[in-house]
Symmetry: C2
Subunit: 338 residues, 2 copies
């Protein structure tokens, strides 16, 4: 739906800045535990326990989302999800969000309501309170930038993986890439399509699992926003180690293989190279004690590889047993494999 | 300078996302007191004392700045200044910044270096450390969104002004509006032009004065970002009171009257309606004790009016003694006055 084709016929340009802010303020009541001053003063004032975690992510229409594929609610949900996943990937508890919006003047106010509504829905599910933000007009695409504050006593870095550690991942990989493909090709029908599409449009970040990983003694942690291979390489690079990943161990979601076959794509292209899954990729000492603790809390985890010494290199063991260098654009190695 | 006309010939599109992030990371070393984890992990981890203050402001090329009038360094400086002033207006100490940038692919990397350089210069002057951020491409104007975290034991609201309080303001008003006019009309020569232009391009936010106002016992505080009249009305509205402002008391900077005369504008149009001065507008009990404490620290302050009961209304006493309703677009009342 283009910005000018809203249903109410009322645009943010006709509403004006202060009326728009007042409208948004009503959509996200900035009250809750720890909120000393919410929306409406020069800055928010909040109370946080322990160390303060902070992350931000700017999303641009036409780059990060396409309004023919996402509802306004999806856009808001996804904008917060990225940040929730970043806080999860430090093992922290998300608490307070600030939202910057740049809107074309012809944007229908219902679009803005929808963006805020989707964001507020996910915020509420994680007890996150929106305490501030601002709006601007823009002679260009819609832009949303969310800053999220969290708290933690102890955090998990991406830089502490040690040779001999096992590499684990929560949930399933490649689901957002498959979901996006299915959204773009509604003619392809596969079992599990609905869940794959939902994984793309309404990803579920996992701060609770991140906190469990801190307590259970994981050694390093990152979330998969760029792609399983790319984010694993970030972790390996930051830790100064090598790695071996077993493709046959990668947890593929239901329907991914069928969707990939219909698309003429290698399923591992999505599993290794597709981003936006927001799973937690972690390392832990051998013995699976950490995995047992996480599973006991109801979180599915799969061992996908092993940390090697730096000199051991960075490898992917393909399903056919061939060992190939692990590449950030993981699927390059697969494109040539029918 | 349009985005495509950089001198190095190297664009952010040719550099790529990860190389750009690495380049920016070197421009703002995220180390300093209280920084547990800086740029490079999923989220920053910082230590803050007391309550946490948070504010953000999104600035869009062609809306908030014009690259024919501002250098890239000015753009970065101004983007942080807005937020420093918001923390100042709560009486807090600014500590840590996160920067989101959306850049057209054809942006010269020297432009990005300049934006970061100007921002880092102001950050350094206030001991603020850039601990995070992110970049995106955008098929449209350059966008910069800065989030600033601060700390405070006690904050000053805009909502606590009481009838009988005096209304005070730091520094001088209308200088940024006059400076912008002079930038656009370089043919107009007036004494003080350089300082006026600098006030527009490199505004000086005042967190130290904000902290002094908390300690000295001011009752309410706001910064003048929208304009003296508009921001005073925000304060009055939030406090549920009335106000009387004396135009003849407004502190006009050197050169403003001459520039206004040359422009054919009433100087009070700029003094009351011109925004982006980032002065601190505060209220205090009668007797000037707060003003004396602030002046003792070297900060110029001027009494410009008085808080009235709600029923007393909101008035501007013009220089000719006539009392007119105070309007957010302060200068509307002046346009008709030659």
């Amino acid at each position: 739906m283009p910005p000018s084709a809203g249903r109410s016929g009322r645009t943010v340009g006709s509403l004006g800045e202060f009326a728009l802010i007042e409208r948004l303020r009503r959509l996200v009541p900035a009250v809750g535990p720890g909120v000393r001053v919410g929306i409406g003063d020069d800055a928010a004032v909040v109370h946080l326990e322990g160390e303060v975690l902070a992350t931000c992510d700017i999303q641009v229409e036409g780059v990060h989302f396409d309004r023919s594929l996402c509802t306004p609610g999806d856009i808001g949900w996804r904008a917060l999800a990225v940040n929730l996943s970043d806080i999860a990937a430090m093992g922290g508890t998300p608490r307070f969000a600030l939202i910057s919006l740049a809107l074309p003047a012809e944007t229908d106010v219902e679009v803005v309501d929808g963006v805020y509504g989707g964001l507020a829905e996910l915020a509420s599910a994680h007890a996150v309170v929106v305490v501030g933000g601002n709006v601007s007009r823009i002679p260009g695409p819609l832009v949303i930038d969310v800053t999220l504050l969290g708290e933690a006593d102890t955090t998990l870095r991406r830089s502490e993986a040690r040779p001999g550690d096992e590499v684990w991942i929560t949930g399933a990989v490649g689901k957002a890439a498959a979901g996006l493909y299915l959204l773009r090709h509604p003619e392809i029908k596969v079992p599990g399509a609905e869940a794959l599409v939902a994984a793309y449009r309404r990803p579920q970040p996992q701060p609770a699992a991140g906190r469990l990983l801190v307590r259970a003694g994981a050694t390093a942690l990152i979330d998969t926003s760029d792609g399983t291979a790319s984010d694993l390489l970030h972790l390996v690079e930051a830790s100064g180690v090598g790695v071996r990943v077993d493709a046959s161990h990668l947890p593929l979601p239901a329907g991914l293989s069928e969707a990939a076959r219909a698309a003429g794509v290698d399923p591992f292209a999505w599993a290794l190279g597709g981003g936006e899954d927001y799973e937690l990729l972690f390392t832990a000492a051998p013995g699976a004690a950490v995995a047992r603790a996480i599973r006991a809390a109801g979180v599915a985890v799969t061992r996908i590889g092993e940390i090697l010494p730096q000199a051991g290199g960075r490898w992917l063991v393909r399903q056919d047993g061939e060992r190939v260098p692990l590449s950030a654009s993981g699927w390059d190695h697969f494109r040539s494999t029918p």
